[in-house]
Amino acid sequence: MWRDALLIAGKDIRIEMRSKVVINQMAPFALLVLILFAFALGPDRTPLINATPGLFWVAVLFSTMFAIQRSFSLEASEGLHDSIILAGIDPAGFFIGKLLAIASELGVLEILTAVGIIILYGAHIVSVLVLLSSCVLGTIGLAAAGTMYGALVSGMRLRETLLPLLFLPVASPVLIAGTRSWQSGLVGSHVSAAPWLWILVAFAVLYICVGIVLYGPMEDM
């Protein structure tokens, strides 16, 4: 499984480094979301700083859909789809490989978005550890759920509209838990980050397990 996962992840990351979709499309989109929200909330900094954790995760969530659609468009042609199946790649390995590639792309995006938040909103960091923990856990969870739903809709004609409809409601626990933990780590509220981080852990573990078990049967659907 791990051999196939590394092969798929290496291939996807190499393609991403050549096509630069994250840098050229996803990052500007995420920064645009931050800027538009800043305009919408007005010149008063207090509501802006309070909304910063939620805005960060909304930007990440929307960008995740870009990453998922891009990832599954790589094998959209019949020839490549067939070749992956005929190569005998372990479906669980394929799932983990896609997950790793999407998560690494989101990681780059989150760094750029976090820098944007600090510069644009003047956010004050209280606990780097909490912020990093929630980013890592939330990213893995989003990538795992996104890979599952991306595979589910990849063969459908209406995949571009179906993916947000299926994925966004499912990803709402990450949005909520990520926002709450960031409130603790960024603004320094009295909210404890621990229970929210545990929700992120549970979400990630659940979708990784579901993906490993169900990806093979989904492939043959």
Partner: protein, 248 residues
């Protein structure tokens, strides 16, 4: 290894609600080269995809390399290579990177890659050119190189001569003959004249209507005007690594 690598017995395959194969029976032995003829929409590509374990068996039964097509499709897929209409290349990867990825994914022998590239005339700067920058013919040659380097037991070739120039077509015919001589079993769906096949089958309406191995009198193809009768028949049916290639 079983003698008959491909055994299909009245196989019906339904995709969506449409029967793409309507009771195909076929037996192909190891080392045979079989040309599949038939009009557009007859079921040639579907027959190849069935043999690759990519289509479901709705009725009847079939075995590829001794593995059941209904219950052991994963094992079937390890023994077949399919060259379809759409080439299996990532545009952002170079020709070499595409081959290395595909061969590693299939757990093949990457030391065969240089020979396969040379055999298909993919040398010099072409090797490190991104697949998206190649011409249709060069992309086709790269896809054939993947098949040659992977060297599966059963080769399923769907219109393999498409986009190839005369020289590349001759090279491909030589490759097919040498692969068969090495023991590979090859099914070719093609509108090209029979240049290499020892046996020809005709497919129409999702069934094999003529087989030179069974019948000495060729039947004429049903033309497009009679295609409906083919569809009607589908509805009625609803009830070695030792490949030693030499560069010329």
């Amino acid at each position: 290894m079983p003698n008959s690598l491909i055994l299909l017995n009245k196989v019906v395959s339904i995709v969506g609600q449409f029967p793409v194969l309507a009771g195909v029976s076929l037996q192909v032995d190891a080392g045979e080269v079989v040309l599949i003829e038939g009009p557009n929409g007859a079921g040639k590509s579907s027959l190849l995809r069935l043999c690759a374990g990519l289509l479901p068996v709705s009725r009847g039964d079939g075995q590829i390399f001794g593995f059941d097509l209904q219950t052991e499709r994963a094992q079937v897929r390890r023994h077949v290579g399919l060259l379809g209409h759409s080439v299996a290349l990532y545009d952002e990867l170079t020709v070499r990177e595409n081959l290395v990825f595909q061969i590693k994914a299939a757990r093949g022998d990457t030391t065969r890659i240089p020979l396969a590239l040379e055999l298909l005339g993919l040398t010099g700067r072409l090797i490190d050119t991104r697949a998206g920058s190649l011409s249709a013919g060069q992309r086709r040659r790269a896809a054939i190189a993947i098949l040659v380097a992977r060297n599966p037991d059963i080769w399923l070739l769907d219109e393999p001569h498409a986009s190839l120039d005369a020289r590349a077509r001759n090279i491909l015919d030589d490759i097919i003959l040498q692969a068969a001589a090495s023991g590979n079993t090859i099914l070719v769906a093609s509108h090209e004249p029979d240049a290499f096949a020892g046996r020809t089958i005709s497919v129409s309406g999702g069934v094999v209507v003529y087989d030179t191995a069974m019948d000495a009198t060729p039947r004429a193809f049903k033309g497009p005007d009679t295609a409906d009768s083919g569809e009607a028949s589908m509805v009625r049916a609803l009830s070695a690594d030792g490949g030693g290639y030499h560069v010329a």
